[in-house]
Symmetry: C2
Subunit: 148 residues, 2 copies
Amino acid sequence: MTQKIGLEHLLCFEVYAASHAFNKLYKPLLEPLGLTYPQYLVMVALWGRDGQSVSEIGAALELESSTLTPLIKRMEQAGLVQRQRDAEDERRVRVSLTDRGRALEAQAAHVPVCAGQATGLEFEQIEALRQQIADLRKALLARGDSAC
Amino acid sequence: MTQKIGLEHLLCFEVYAASHAFNKLYKPLLEPLGLTYPQYLVMVALWGRDGQSVSEIGAALELESSTLTPLIKRMEQAGLVQRQRDAEDERRVRVSLTDRGRALEAQAAHVPVCAGQATGLEFEQIEALRQQIADLRKALLARGDSAC
DNA sequence: TGCGATTGAATCGTGTGCGATTTAAATTGC
DNA sequence: GCAATTTAAATCGCACACGATTCAATCGCA
């Protein structure tokens, strides 16, 4: 017979649980900044390049507009970003940082440092693991359609 | 200055995105079984040991009762499990498989095989990566409270 | 024995996530 | 130059996920 597989042997479950664990770790770090974890990722994207469109942010985060639109609207309500239609292409909505949003970058500088420490890993180990998971993610997305 | 960090260098983001990628991969595999991914995890737990309480399932999956209660109720509606108060301790709710729920195990046997193939990794590589992420998860949960 | 503390589920409110659909704007074909 | 198609956001419905709270059952201990 094929070996019965438990949760403790599923890579997918480990990734799922690790994702929740990161979320729990970030929550108290981001709460003082008034950010949720996905909102923090949007901020990281915008700190890297301001004025991206919703779909560009979606490409960077691998999220759909149906997820991002309400999320970004909440960030706009919080005064962190501004949304405006692109004059060149009225279909696009550009998201740009407010002064408050820009100022938050300095206040959030410690966040990735804290998170890195919490992993209990050295920088090189983190990077190596990150790369392995990045390769895994690419494989999953590529072979997702070719079923089995 | 401290190096500005982008999404492409954050381990947490990679895990977050990989979790979504797994979800996308599993969706078409589980759809024919009438299961969502978290529901599938509950089934795996119950196939391993039937009749667990909500909190035991929660411990295995690292989920709260506020997440599991409605999820399991949906599974009950679908006729996969049955919920009943424990006679020994009326606070506990035991979740047991129905015949249909038990029968689903055979129909789902290919799921982890398909997922394994989609990773593009050999069994030993999967297990090695799984172990690394398991260690990471434990570190994150352990150091979460000791802030920084 | 009795009662305060603890435990196990459930409930509630908020915030993701996504597939399907809709709407409006831009692009393509002919 | 205009109809058909494509593209970008937004909307809608559904299903997690969690913290805070509630409620009932059990436990602990004087």
